[in-house]
């Protein structure tokens, strides 16, 4: 537990210092990494802690982006207010949706969330008068803080990562708390958790709502950073990508979600060299990683650390011989 916070402190320093080494295009990649990390952590609360799948999380991300985008670009609303409104509206929607949908389990829950994601995406595409349809919505203003306008990459980097770090801290706090334990208990044995007095139904809805709110905030930030949004960014493919980030990173591990998000953000960029074959390499990597790292990247890193420690101890033993 203490180790998580120590690691987090170290992580903050790395995040703060990163712009010294990365500029221009690379800094832009790091901004996307921040947004993806936020989304992966949000989904991890639901999938990794409570063990409930969602194949429609891109919809919450998209709703946050579009609500914020439409309120500001079309109706001239203050961007911060728009962000807050989007978060509350998506929270209410998720809360209302959570009660019926989270009664379902396993494949059925997957199908229901998948359906929800597709419906929302169709709405983005078809309500052209509000969303601009498939060609997207442009003219979304940047966020401002006093006289500072978040328009450059560097400013956006710090803006996004402030929110991302805050989300990660929430996740770490939750993991080591009464609620986090109850969620993990539901994951391991729902019936035993209920017998212990855990109200599984309410708790699942609560974490679903929290997860949706964080995703909506990420969507808002995305809209105000990119200043342009289109439905293609919030489709089924992205929902699956989010699930992949969480699983590859390590279920229930907050730092794992960062690793998963980082990998899935960087990989497509790296694979540009192999052009059309990128999807093949991508697929193979995912298969190999899930086969040989069942604990995800976070589990892999921990195993590597253990291995280094034991080999070092062994060489010390040899030296003493």
């Amino acid at each position: 537990m203490k180790r998580d916070y120590l690691l987090f402190l170290l992580f903050i320093l790395v995040v703060l210092a990163a712009p010294l080494a990365f500029r221009g295009y690379l800094l832009n990649v790091l901004i996307f990494m921040g947004i993806n990390t936020m989304l992966a952590v949000a989904l991890n609360l639901l999938l990794g802690f409570a063990g409930q799948i969602s194949l429609g999380h891109a919809a919450f991300f998209g709703l946050g982006a579009y609500l914020s985008g439409i309120l500001t670009a079309t109706y001239g609303c203050n961007p911060w207010l728009a962000l807050a409104v989007a978060a509350v509206a998506v929270g209410l929607l998720a809360f209302g949706l959570g009660f019926p949908i989270l009664k379902l389990q396993g494949h059925y829950l997957a199908m229901a969330t998948l359906g929800f994601g597709i419906i929302v995406n169709i709405v983005f595409n078809e309500t052209v008068a509000y969303t601009g349809g498939p060609s997207g919505l442009s003219g979304i203003p940047n966020l401002r803080l006093g006289r500072t306008r978040f328009d450059g990459d560097l400013k956006n980097y710090y803006l996004i990562w402030t929110f991302t770090l805050a989300t990660m801290l929430l996740g770490i706090n939750l993991a080591h708390s009464r609620i986090g334990r109850a969620l993990r208990a539901i994951h391991d044995s729902e019936v035993a958790a209920r017998v212990m007095g855990v109200n599984a139904r309410i708790l699942k809805v609560q974490v679903f709502t929290l997860s949706a709110i964080i995703s909506a905030v990420a969507g808002s930030l995305y809209a105000h950073t990119m200043m342009f949004i289109a439905p293609a960014s919030f489709g089924f493919t992205f929902s699956v990508e989010l699930v992949t980030m969480v699983i590859i990173g390590g279920l229930g591990n907050i730092f794992g979600s960062f690793l998963g998000a980082a990998l899935l953000t960087i990989l497509p960029e790296l694979l540009r060299v192999v052009r059309d074959y990128d999807i093949v390499v991508y697929g193979l990597l995912l298969i190999v990683m899930t086969m040989y790292m069942p604990g995800g990247l976070a589990g892999g890193v921990a195993a590597l650390a253990r291995w280094i420690r034991t080999t070092r101890n062994r060489s010390v033993d040899h030296a003493q011989d």
Binding site: L170, G171, S177, R178, S189, A193, V195, M196
Partner: protein
């Protein structure tokens, strides 16, 4: 304390329980025995809210608790353990017991996520409390071990510590001695007496007759979904109906 009135449970064409009525007196250890398929576990599942009975009622201290979900029963002090141990296997032993303290803690999802001061104070109190439960079951040294890595016998103890964390007034145990060796069974017997001294009423389903006869103050015998007998261990041992059910007709 616990009163069951005319419970009938029908699964498809099978009458798992037929008009079973039992009264469990406070402070006693009551054993429920019977051949396989007698309906013991079904009865437990109904009392603890996992099944809804076809007909009949369950009362706890005079309150009708029929159809209450398990999480609500836990707040009333009714807890159970499982025959095949439902451990939270990826959590440590301490965390398992902390989940048992869920009903007696308040911090919500926001207080936990934001680490508000009262949440921290509560967390400290819960840890102290959880360690007392571990000590009660003699497994303090296992606190930081992941539950899934424990041998079966230890899991039993963790499950009991976890159930005791709820401060049960009524504890239902489904075959607590199943899978235990003779030394572990003897330890379990001692633990059961401690639980009784601590003021909990215990009902247990058990096949280990020696344990049942040693520890139970009252015994209920079920056979083919019907109550066959209810009495002290001695009465049960001498009851011709019971002997017939267990040994067949001579």
């Amino acid at each position: 304390m616990l009163r069951i009135e005319g419970i009938t449970q029908i699964f498809g064409g099978l009458r798992a329980l037929e008009n079973v009525s039992v009264t469990v007196r406070q402070g006693l250890i009551t054993g429920v025995i019977g051949p396989n398929g007698a309906g013991k576990t079904t009865l437990f599942n109904i009392i603890t809210g996992l099944y809804t009975q076809t007909s009949g009622k369950v009362f706890l201290d005079g309150t009708d608790i029929s159809g209450f979900p398990p999480e609500r029963l836990a707040t009333l002090g009714l807890v159970r353990t499982f025959q095949n141990i439902e451990m939270f296997s990826r959590m440590t032993v301490l965390e398992n017991v902390l989940v048992g303290l869920h009903t007696r803690s308040r911090s919500g999802i926001l207080a936990c996520a934001l680490k508000l001061p009262w949440h921290l104070a509560e967390e400290r109190r819960m840890r102290e409390d959880a360690f007392r439960r571990l000590e009660f079951c003699g497994i303090t040294d296992l606190a930081h071990i992941v539950a899934g890595a424990l041998p079966f016998g230890k899991c039993r103890l963790v499950e009991i510590a976890r159930a005791m964390a709820v401060n049960p007034r009524l504890l239902l145990m489904d075959e607590p001695a199943a899978g235990l060796n003779s030394r572990e069974t003897a330890e379990l017997e001692e633990l059961l007496r401690k639980i009784q001294e601590a003021g909990a009423t215990v009902v247990l389903v058990e096949h280990d007759m020696e344990l049942v006869m040693n520890i139970c103050d009252a015994i209920v015998v079920l056979n083919l979904g019907k109550k066959l007998a209810h009495g002290t261990p001695r009465q049960i041992q001498e009851n011709p109906e019971v002997i017939k059910a267990y040994l067949g007709e001579g």
